[in-house]
């Protein structure tokens, strides 16, 4: 009843039509999707510094609060600078750096096969007259990626606020990292000890008070969310350490 030729023609025509429809839809909807993703990133950066805005307001608020974006190399040199809506230095807008790729480059560098030096984005904020630094974070939890932003006071040591999010951590357990009570814990913690050594902030299983960790450098983990909590610890150490040379340089130049 249906010849082979008919079947082949039918299948080919169908596939071509479907491909045309889907690629058109993708092209038409892409700008909307991209702006959603971008606004979400704006929102995440601002919420670390406790500026709560809706996604629709995020773009405006970001322009208002973030005065400068820097990209920093592993020696602490500024390789690009973006301010007042234009690129002042370097060739990539720090906001467009994909942190995940840079972290992979860092790992590759350890194995001795990096294609180029990784660069690290840093956002400088004017929070109603107070200078704050915001660092984006990316790591792995139990089931998938976790990420966030952490804001520091002008001493670049004391945490002013943080925001975390995750793709698929366990609801009620690891997924708690995106709730206020967990993020509140980070406020006031410090990433350098008295001697100026980088110690990061550890998420401590069983509670900071029951451990040997200085409460200035530790927060309580989530019960039942140990692997996610460890993931957050590792993410903090792995991402923050890249900025240490910059902070050291920056602080001495201030003195």
């Amino acid at each position: 009843m249906f010849s082979n030729r008919y079947i082949y023609t039918y299948a080919s025509v169908m596939v071509i039509i479907v491909a045309a429809v889907l690629s058109t839809a993708s092209q038409v909807l892409k700008p909307f999707q991209d702006s959603n993703i971008k606004n979400e990133k704006f929102q995440g950066i601002l919420s670390a510094a406790e500026v709560k805005v809706t996604r629709a307001e995020a773009s405006e608020a970001y322009k208002k609060y973030i005065i400068e974006e820097l990209a920093i190399d592993s020696e602490g040199n500024v390789v690009s600078r973006y301010a007042d809506g234009k690129l002042v230095e370097g060739d990539i807008r720090p906001f467009d750096i994909v942190l995940k790729d840079e972290l992979r480059l860092k790992q590759d560098a350890k194995a001795g096969k990096a294609r180029r030096e990784p660069v690290w984005p840093l956002y400088i904020m004017n929070h109603d007259g107070v200078k704050q630094y915001i660092i984006p974070l990316h790591g792995v939890g139990l089931w998938g990626p976790v990420w966030g932003n952490i804001a520091f006071n002008s001493d670049f040591n004391t945490v002013a606020g943080s925001s975390f999010d995750h793709k698929s951590e366990t609801p009620g357990l690891g997924a708690e990292i995106n709730t206020p009570w967990f993020q509140e814990e980070f406020k006031g913690k410090q990433i350098f000890d008295q001697n100026g050594n980088f110690v990061s902030i550890t998420v401590v299983k069983g509670g900071v008070s029951n451990s040997s960790i200085n409460p200035l450098h530790g927060v309580d983990a989530i019960s039942g969310g140990t692997i996610t909590s460890n993931g957050v610890s590792e993410m903090l150490a792995n991402c923050l350490e890249n900025y240490v040379p910059f902070i050291k340089k920056n602080l001495t130049s201030h003195e």
Binding site: F2, L22, F32, N36
Partner: protein, 214 residues
């Protein structure tokens, strides 16, 4: 072959719409599409969006298959059905990402998994391959509504008891928490959805004796 014109909402057609809500419900009677019913029913909003998405895919897919049914060679009918489902699901996913980004994030992979929802292939094979577009359309709406209504009922109870909210608004008053009421964390986890679906099936079967197997 009767050529007499049937009215659009003849009793037979209305039955296509209503039967899946009760006695032929895809979830509670045919036990299809359980996977997504467990996964997206933590909150009402995603469950509702999921129900609407499945409705769009199933209604449009049923009509398309029904229109094409005489041209589809039986040897490649499954693959044709799959291509149509996949294309529609990708479209829905793209639209959600563009316009209801937050909910699309919560639904994450489950929109994509509509492709594997057995209800879709089931309706294509069992109904629209051998029926006219209009009845197929009604059948699609009816079945996805039957699916959606269960999703929404399950999500309502899970959200109410698990998070103390309905559609994101707090409904359990603060004094209840003050006197020791706690949200049930278990409701948030997938196993509870299975139990809630089980309770719905139980209630339905004890009311409708015809559903009870010998």
């Amino acid at each position: 072959m009767s050529n007499t014109k049937e009215s659009l909402f003849s009793p037979k057609n209305v039955k296509l719409l209503t039967a899946p809500l009760g006695r032929e419900n895809p979830i509670t009677v045919q036990v299809l599409g359980i996977c997504s019913a467990l996964a997206v029913t933590v909150k009402l909003q995603p469950a509702f969006v999921m129900a609407v998405s499945v409705m769009a895919v199933l209604a449009v897919g049923n009509v398309l298959i029904s229109l094409l049914r005489k041209t589809i060679a039986p040897r490649i009918r499954i693959i044709v059905q799959l291509v149509i489902i996949a294309a529609l699901v990708i479209l829905v996913d793209q639209v959600l990402k563009a316009f209801v980004y937050d909910i699309s994030k919560q639904l994450s992979v489950f929109v994509g998994l509509i492709i594997t929802n057995c209800i879709l292939m089931g309706r294509f094979e069992a109904f629209s391959m051998s029926n006219k577009p209009w009845p197929s359309f009604l059948d699609g709406i009816g079945n996805s509504a039957g699916y959606g209504i269960i999703l929404i009922v399950v999500a309502f109870f899970r959200e109410l008891l698990g998070s103390g909210t309905v559609w994101g608004y707090h409904v359990i008053p603060q004094f209840m928490y003050d006197i020791g009421y706690k949200n049930n964390g278990l409701m948030i986890l997938p196993p509870m959805a299975l139990i809630v679906v089980g309770i719905i099936i139980w209630v339905q079967r004890s009311k409708d004796k015809e559903l009870i197997e010998e």
